[in-house]
């Protein structure tokens, strides 16, 4: 690998994949760098799994270029596979194996020695909370447990590129939290993490960079804050008053405020204008509220979620 021991980047340039006349991916380009957790979202059939299969080398007949750690896919597949950890959607194993046998084989195939495998298996099973199931057959595991074994095999050889296709699918809330922690922690080692998900709140929780894909095309890429500002989604403030003088309506004339609503008594929702410095607006707002005889008990920023960003995007596309 050309990029040194720790750093790996994934660069897609004009990647296109066609099945007959159907274009599953159309001129997809993006770059993911070391330490990034890239959340890949999009509706069903958008091309997320196709992108992932191209990145991991399971699909090789595509147009465009894909470079991972300085090596091109598919020519440099063998080298790339040494640094790759992959969890497919609906992961499946040979049913006769136990978890231990599964991990042992995959560890050795990834280049670990017998002693390294023996050391790493308890570590990864501990990460996904499956230590007690080590000698269970994989055919006896629940869907969620199988998914966790899938994550364990992907992490076993400490890959520098971790590609996860819907890693949180089918997990209970506790396991989802646990897996998110594992992913976030793992990225701190400098690895690139690429994952797709339908659960937008989960993407929002851990992704440092988000890509929105629709009908095979990348529509937006950036950090969550970047996407929010790009879609002009207003930031709102929720203000709870302990005394309401009723004069707060006058605040609507204040610079940086787009409007004020009172959903319940003593509670105000202030819509802020993103184009004006929010810190200045909030300072002015507090001063004016006090001057108008209101007493503030609590003030919370209401930030738009990724769901809102995504919905906004979809609505905009429909209007176009």
């Amino acid at each position: 690998m050309k990029e040194g021991d720790g750093n790996v980047s994934v660069v897609l340039e004009g990647v296109t994949k066609r099945y007959g006349n159907f274009s599953a991916l159309d001129n997809v380009s993006f770059t993911i760098s070391s330490g990034d957790i890239f959340g890949y979202i999009g509706p069903n059939g958008a091309g997320k799994t196709t992108t992932i299969k191209i990145i991991v080398g399971l699909l090789s007949d595509f147009q465009g270029t894909l470079t991972i750690g300085g090596r091109q896919m598919p020519e440099g597949r063998q080298d790339i596979h040494r640094i790759l950890g992959y969890l497919p959607q609906n992961v499946a194993f040979q049913e006769w194996r136990t978890i231990d046998q599964t991990l042992s084989t995959f560890g050795k195939l990834s280049g670990l020695s017998e002693s390294e495998v023996e050391k790493r298996i308890p570590e990864v099973l501990d990460m996904v909370n499956l230590s007690r199931e080590r000698h269970k057959k994989v055919s006896q595991l629940s869907g969620g447990m199988t998914q966790k074994v899938g994550l364990a095999q992907a992490l076993l050889h400490k890959p520098r590129l971790l590609v996860l296709d819907e890693p949180l699918e089918g997990l209970d809330p506790e396991s989802r939290y646990q897996v998110k922690q594992v992913i976030a922690e793992y990225s701190k080692s400098g690895a690139v993490v690429f994952f797709s998900s339908h659960i937008l709140s989960d993407v929002q929780d851990i992704a440092t960079k988000i890509g929105i894909l629709n009908k095979g095309r990348i529509m937006q890429i950036g950090g969550l804050e970047e996407l929010k500002s790009r879609f002009s989604i207003a930031n709102d403030l929720e203000i709870v008053l302990s005394h309401d003088s009723g004069l707060w309506k006058k605040l609507e004339a204040l610079k940086g405020i787009k409007g004020i609503e009172q959903p319940t008594p003593n509670k105000l929702v202030v819509h802020l204008d993103n184009k004006i410095n929010i810190d200045d607006t909030v300072q002015d707002l507090i001063k004016e509220l006090i001057a108008l005889g209101c007493r503030i008990r609590r003030l919370n920023p209401i930030s738009p979620s990724l769901d809102e960003v995504y919905l906004k995007y979809v609505q905009e596309r429909q209007n176009v």
Binding site: K53, V56, G57, L58, L59, S60, D61, Q78, H81, R82, L84, Y86, P88, N90, V91, A92, F93, Q94, W96, R97, Q101, T105, F106, K108, L109, S110, G111, Q153
Partner: protein, 220 residues
């Protein structure tokens, strides 16, 4: 390294499977039952020869069905994806499966035949040279037939889209081709055993080469 590991792993998976249990214990038992049934009917087929015939006909079919079904299932469930994203050559996966199953059925045939020889020896006293020669010919033919059956099972496993189609192809198509190594014996050619083995090796190699070629080109 990875090829040896995969063969060892596949052996571990197959030798304990239900189909293999039938081959380990069921085939010798079936041979003994047929032997006694034939004795009751007045015929006297030596158990040694009977074992070879039964192993070739039933063992070969079972092995090819087992291989085809296993490959189709693992392919459709995307089990191979996790192997293919590691530095493993694709032919290792295919060939390790073939070798594991073939080794298992070859050992099962050997055991079945050995049991036949022991029982015949106890019943008939010393075994005649002709019987031993015919037994060895049967063994060579059956091993060749099983190699062809197994390689066809692998090829059908790689190309077939579903288990049902795969099983139909194996039973109706594969079985016909696997009978080819028996031709030298039927034609009574001298050195029939050698011809039979050569035919078995050639056909199996072609089938395996085709299977590996197609598996290498497959987009997962």
């Amino acid at each position: 390294m990875s090829f040896r590991l995969l063969v060892k792993d596949e052996l571990r998976g197959f030798y304990k499977s239900k189909v293999m249990l039938f081959l380990w214990f069921g085939l010798p038992l079936l041979a003994i039952l047929f032997h006694f049934w034939s004795s009751l009917q007045g015929g006297e087929i030596p158990l040694t020869a009977l074992s070879a015939i039964i192993t070739a006909s039933i063992g070969g079919t079972l092995a090819s069905v087992m291989l085809a079904v296993s490959i189709i299932n693992e392919k459709t469930q995307h089990v191979y994806d996790l192997f293919l994203v590691r530095p493993v050559k694709r032919w290792n996966i295919i060939l390790s499966k073939f070798l594991a199953v073939y080794a298992c059925i070859a050992v099962a045939s050997g055991l079945s035949l050995l049991l036949g020889v022991i029982i015949d020896y106890v019943n008939l006293g010393a075994l005649s040279d002709t019987l031993l020669r015919e037994t060895l010919l049967s063994l060579a033919t059956s091993l060749s037939m099983m190699a062809v059956s197994s390689s066809i099972g692998v090829l059908i496993g790689v190309v077939s889209p579903s288990v049902l189609v795969g099983v139909i192809l194996v039973i109706y198509g594969g079985n016909q081709i696997s009978a080819l190594p028996i031709i030298p014996t039927i034609l009574n050619i001298s050195n029939a055993a050698l011809f039979s083995v050569t035919l078995g090796v050639v056909i199996s190699s072609i089938m395996l080469f085709l299977a590996i070629f197609l598996f290498n080109r497959k987009q997962m």
